[in-house]
Symmetry: C4
């Protein structure tokens, strides 16, 4: 919180929104010279705890069944907002600290050393470009959400832990962006189209593919990915019961999702999921 | 560790136990003046077996998938009906004896020591106020019941292990109690409204949130939470088959649920679930 | 196989059926003196391997998720067809050799030694009385079958591993046998009614309760319990797809289920399930 | 164990390996006269890594829940296209290198040594005959696909990982091939009929039974079996939502499935699934 002229507090959200517009304007104003696959400079060294956080995020997503072999998680470089960190192309359950690579927002690797990279890393880079408020991005094929991505039935919040869905969940149709494709977000253009469909929302479904979930930090993004999948499964069951459903209203969602700390004590879920994923649950 | 007179180390647990007794004695001796947020006196020291029972209840609920990160379980203080016991704000799978706190029925902590508390603890306190027959309360987000909380299809018993549902399962609509809320039972007023909707029944659904399950002791409450979730899942499947369903009748439910021991040998489930949750299943 | 007058083989099944009728007639003809809870004599000592087989059956049913805390499995005494063996009242996952008790067909214990007994043991005794071909009985609350027990949609075979269902799966309505009950088969009269509904079939559903599955030996009964549950789940999914379904025909079922060895190499499943349940899977 | 010249024990595995080489050499040298049930010559010795690959495939299929006790996987002999390799009749979760047997394309064993064989091995032999492009075959009873095998609703791709389904998924009706059967593919004639229904496609459903999935190598066949099951489950959920669905189009499927490497980095899934199945996931 900060204060306006009359001393009334200006919500952080509005301040960030303004900052975002300025950043976008600056980005448009600067014409960067075209260059083929330059090797970008590093955003700077990282504390081990930051890397560890991303490793744990990967393991949690695997342990919760949100990501099997495919899908990935990234964080924005805490020291340089134009860099992000993501594992080399490897299943999230197998990620260790040594697998983490650094990329610029065009998704060029800082220090490739021959490692294979996710062909869909553009999802991450393009979202970090358009969403300065986002510092964690998760892409999943989670089985609960796929049916909603191919259906005309909208995904809507049925439980308050997924109240962030109240703003609506857009479905990205890759056909509109790229015609006939191999369904993969293998270019910056496709990544940008997806990021634009996501717009200012927390989740976007990808038709015939999965979803992308974002957050102000990776913990929020991971929790949203888990709760989005659970919500989708429960909504499908509720629809099959027949009759009208009583969804979380936009007003309730805004109230729940808008408050600090209202996201249900996120540390509690993280601590549990980390203990489970890292096999340190108490005896 | 510290050392006793003879130099032998005294386990921290014992020291803490003694400290707790002293604190309890002091608390009982001092008549605190009435004030907002007064610190209530303890209901008295507790045998370790009572604490252990509550720890096991937490672990079982996690191990059975009834509670993930959120949700909580409490017991009424066996020595003082105007006190209850519940863990600090922590995922049930991680609860140990040291996490158990004591509260009065207004949900003020007896001995907070800076620990974070469940914001929804009012669910427990207000139910203990209105239901002297209840000595165990469980709040869950169990995935089987959420669809029924947002549907107009009533939850009804499809298997005798859930025969206690024959009295009907009310759905608490927080909008009626609090208008637009963040969906959490974060006040005594909301807790009382929920307790009144529960009335004299064993289970109440919370729209867009989960349920609350009560029992004469924590074992019964835990078993009912497990069987309510199973019942909901099987009822949803049966509804999807199409055609009329043959539910447990009110008369059958009354017969089954009314007898002592008719609840199907509850110790048998508890012993199994405890062995599984505490990882002591036979080889 | 044996031979008829013209030398044509008479199927074993028919011979057994005749034997059964004779046994039943004899049983009706003999008026046993009323006696309160006599202690029957033992059917004789048992090789450890027989006990072990029953222990493994219990563990498999738990490990496969067919039985949770409730439900039970029994075998007929190999040395005396008027005795059967079953665990004391304990969850199947916890059964060890020391828990196995012996009963006569009226379900009186041979050597109780103060142990608690399943109140529904009459299911087993009464079936062994009416079905001399049965040497293994399993009672479950398996979640796949409950919906079919309360629905008018008949359970039918959708996969050949459950081809034994081709003879039809009766649903036992306890109301017809006992009016308003606590839903438990707590008497010989209820057990006999259930056994009569089972008749010569392998599976009977119990409305609002579960099922009973029988076999010529316990391995067959266990396998049938597993495959019946799987079949029910897949049939429910198929029904939800909409449109007509192509079930295993009675002729196919008879062909598959009638041949020796046609039950798909039962040892293969047993060996796997045993390794999993007893935690001896290869590394 | 036996002892070498210097007294050091020679592992049984090495002895067996040598025995196997000698047997293979002898088998190649001896030209057996043509006869009913001739014993075919071996296709030649195999590197341990080839056997290991097939063992891992078996374990993965079990670990992923695609195959329980029944079902099997085979590979074409890398040194002789008219031979294939498959385990003796045993549950895939239990397969070790010593269980692998060699067959000719008529499914006669090269070196039976009294081992029991899958009665449905003709599925494999007949497909290898008709499909020179296929080097790995998997037969499953996976629970997701059974409903589609008995329904008139076609299985269609809902996620790009199953884009190979875009060519259509034929359903083999054993009644058309064999009239009333015991549902098993226990002859070359039935195997050929099934192979002809598969034609040039990757997957064929078997009504009331399961499916067969093929690939250019066993890794592709295993991955397709996993993704076909996942696709079926998600499609069933999507259908239950109601309304039209937006499937992967034939053009998208062709684009995705046609490119090398477009199958989504198959090594990534294999490495993960192998680590999970062989219990070598990182701590």
């Amino acid at each position: 919180m900060t204060s306006g002229p009359a001393g009334a507090p200006i919500p952080l959200r509005e301040v960030m929104s303004t900052v975002r517009l300025i950043v976008a304007a600056l980005a448009s104003a600067i014409a960067l010279p075209a260059a083929a696959q330059t090797t970008p400079a590093s955003g700077g060294p990282l504390p081990p705890a930051v890397i560890e956080e991303l490793v744990v995020a990967n393991r949690i997503l695997a342990d919760r069944g949100i990501i099997d072999a495919y899908g990935h998680a990234s964080i924005r470089h805490p020291g340089n907002p134009s860099r992000y960190l993501m594992a080399r192309a490897i299943a999230p359950a197998l990620v260790t600290a040594d697998d983490i690579m650094e990329f610029d927002l065009d998704s060029n690797p800082v220090d490739r050393r021959g490692r294979s990279m996710f062909v869909e890393r553009f999802i991450h880079g393009e979202i970090y470009k358009l969403r300065p408020d986002v510092n964690g991005v998760v892409h999943t094929h989670s089985m609960g959400v796929i049916p909603f991505g191919i259906s005309q039935v909208p995904l809507k919040p049925v439980i308050h832990t997924a109240s962030f869905l109240h703003v609506g969940v857009p479905v990205w149709e890759i056909r509109e962006a790229g015609g006939v494709t191999n369904m993969l977000v293998h270019s910056a253009a496709l990544g940008r189209s997806l990021a634009e469909k996501l717009a200012n929302k927390p989740v976007v479904l990808m038709r015939g593919h999965g979803n992308v979930v974002v957050g102000g930090n990776i913990r929020v993004a991971v929790a949203r990915a888990v709760f989005t999948d659970e919500n989708a499964r429960m909504q499908a069951t509720a629809i099959a019961l027949g009759g009208p459903l009583n969804y979380i209203s936009p007003e309730e969602g805004a109230m729940r999702d808008g408050e600090d700390g209202s996201r249900g004590d996120p540390a509690r879920a993280w601590d549990l999921w980390k203990a489970s994923a890292m096999k340190t649950l108490p005896k």
